[in-house]
């Protein structure tokens, strides 16, 4: 029990160190960037504001202080839970992230589960039928997918299903012109379908190829030979031995791909005008919304870190050999 607590403690300490490093690095990038926060804030009213007013804003924001002092102030605010105010969305940053993340979470969760399930299934089929036509088709398809960029796949799907066939809506998370609170679940799913499919397609290929390899290794192993000699047929081999032995790489890969999933969602949400965290990131970058960008950087750090740790835990549960040797004797 104490060792479990200790391991949680050490994971938390690592997370804090990681966050500090990410905060410092992204703050340094922002400080060194050519973006002028005052220009960004003023926006279209730039002509109506004189140099004195600009100087007043800069003074009030502390822009004339040395960078280290500004970093300290920002960190202290964050530690108090104040992430700042987003001028792009006219809301506190915490509210923006909370709202957008929930929208994105639906998209990413569907895409993540789909790519995991489809990728693993295809990988098992290809690995078991290695060298036969099913394997050739799946492998060819996986290579094609992994060389196709997200936005391009998204555009193709959009053209096929939204423009030509008109099965799916062309944009957004809810029907155009309706109020988000009044939209039913079915409508939401309908809008989610195509972006999620696009996002999952990108994640399928790596899982498929890694699983195929792990399955092929398992199928060539001595324990499969013995199981076969015991009278086990192919389906039984897969069910009783191969699935568990091949799941490890797929699980690790799937959990560690959360960063790529988030990166993909930036592109997918842009193509489908889906108002999630990815689209908010693009908006923040284009609108030079520094507090929002920095907060998103910190948030994705936590997101990816937690994902990787979960992957570790699931993998340890799948493979007892990775436990520390406390069960022996």
């Amino acid at each position: 029990m104490t060792s479990a607590l200790g391991s949680i403690g050490s994971r938390l300490i690592r997370l804090v160190l990681l966050l500090a490093a990410v905060a410092a690095a992204s703050f340094a990038l922002m400080a060194a960037s050519p973006v002028d926060p005052v220009d960004a804030y003023v926006g279209g009213d730039i002509a109506a504001i004189g140099p004195e007013q600009r100087a007043q804003i800069a003074e009030r924001w502390g822009l004339n202080d040395p960078p280290l002092e500004r970093f300290g102030t920002w960190l202290a605010n964050i530690a108090r839970g104040d992430l700042g105010y987003s001028h792009t969305f006219n809301q506190p940053v915490a509210d923006v992230i909370a709202g957008k993340f929930l929208t994105s979470l639906a998209l990413m969760a569907v895409a993540w589960s789909l790519s995991g399930l489809i990728g693993f299934t295809l990988g098992v089929v290809a690995g078991v039928r290695r060298g036969r036509w099913a394997d050739r088709v799946i492998t060819w398809w996986a290579y094609t997918l992994s060389s196709a960029p997200t936005f391009w796949v998204g555009l193709l799907l959009l053209y096929a299903f939204s423009v030509s066939l008109q099965w799916t809506p062309i944009c957004c998370a809810v029907p155009v012109g309706s109020i988000a609170g009044e939209v039913g679940l079915l409508d939401r799913l309908h809008h989610l379908l195509l972006p999620a499919l696009t996002l999952s397609l990108v994640g399928i290929a790596p899982v498929t190829l890694h699983t195929r390899q792990a399955v092929a290794v398992a199928m060539a192993s001595d324990y499969i030979a013995f199981a076969r000699a015991q009278g086990e047929r192919t389906f039984g081999l897969v069910l009783h031995h191969v699935l568990r032995n091949a799941a490890g790489p797929a699980v690790l890969l799937q959990f560690s791909s959360l960063g790529e999933l988030f990166g993909g969602s930036v592109l997918a949400e842009q193509v489908f005008s889906y108002p999630g965290l990815g689209a908010a990131t693009t908006a923040a970058a284009l609108g030079q919304d520094v507090p929002l960008l920095l907060a998103i950087a910190l948030f994705t750090t936590v997101f990816v870190y937690v994902g990787n740790q979960l992957g570790d835990l699931v993998h340890a549960w799948l493979d007892p050999r990775t436990h520390r040797a406390e069960v022996t004797a």
């Binding site: 324990y223 013995f226 015991q230 007892p320």
Partner: protein
């Protein structure tokens, strides 16, 4: 009366496609004959890569799909088709390996033994009882293969192999590098299985170990069985042995390490 297992003219080859669609056929087993009857331990002795394991896989009907096979395998007087062999695998014909690699590393011993019982058409309680008969208590059921000693692993493997009360056992060689006492124990196991009225084919590259328990020794080389000899003839300089067996015998460290001619 024909012997329980009789193999004649077994030939196994693999078709491979090299670059493009060029076909290449590799002959792995070029002609093997072997007979084993109840109560007998027949040792199949040969160097690694001589095709010994493939012979066992052929008898169990588990050759890979790109293998083609000719020759006749009869069991209890009847010719076995490959579907017959699959049906008998795990019931009448069993493979008995010796290394931990043959157990699924991610499944508990309990799961594997119960599955083995299920495949052999036995109730799960039978599996637990069979393990207990070999001195392994119920605490072993929850453990994983990497948590057991080599001796326990071998007892688990024997339990699984004999779950369906097989009449023919294809025993894979005792793990190289095993301490002498363990090798003796394993060989004694094989002898006991044969003395219970089963036929045991012992596949090994260790001539000396095979001689301790075998009733006859079949020597194979480059995918062929070339000679059959009686263990009693492996004595002194081996004057009654066929030529290759004699050369093999004389080349052993204890017998002078002599290599007469490259054969």
């Amino acid at each position: 009366m024909s012997p329980l297992l009789s193999i004649s003219g077994l030939r196994i080859s693999f078709v491979q496609y090299t670059r493009g669609l060029r076909r290449r056929e590799t002959v792995a087993v070029a002609g093997m004959d072997l007979a084993a009857d109840r109560g007998q331990v027949v040792a199949l002795v040969g160097a690694s890569g001589a095709g010994k394991t493939l012979l066992a896989h052929a008898v169990l009907g588990m050759l890979p799909p790109n293998a083609s096979e000719s020759g006749v395998i009869t069991y209890d007087g009847a010719v076995l088709t490959s579907e017959d062999r699959r049906r008998r695998a795990g019931h009448e014909i069993a493979l008995l390996p010796q290394s931990v690699d043959f157990l699924d590393p991610l499944a508990t011993i309990g799961r594997q033994v119960r599955r083995s019982a299920q495949l052999a058409g036995r109730p799960e309680s039978y599996a637990v009882a069979a393990l207990a008969d070999r001195g392994l208590g119920s605490e072993v059921l929850r453990r994983y293969p990497h948590e057991l000693s080599g001796g326990m692993i071998r007892r688990v493997l024997v339990t699984m192999a004999t779950m369906g009360d097989p009449q023919l056992i294809l025993a894979d060689e005792p793990t190289p590098g095993l301490p002498q006492a363990d090798v003796t124990a394993v060989l004694r196991d094989f002898r006991a299985l044969a003395d219970d009225g089963r036929a045991v084919v012992l596949i090994t590259h260790e001539l000396r170990g095979a001689l301790e328990v075998a009733d006859s020794v079949v020597i194979c080389r480059d995918g062929r069985t070339i000679e059959t000899a009686a263990p009693a003839d492996f004595t002194g300089d081996g004057p009654d042995l066929p030529p290759y067996s004699r050369a093999l015998w004389q080349a052993l460290p204890g017998n002078g390490f002599r290599v007469e001619q490259p054969c």
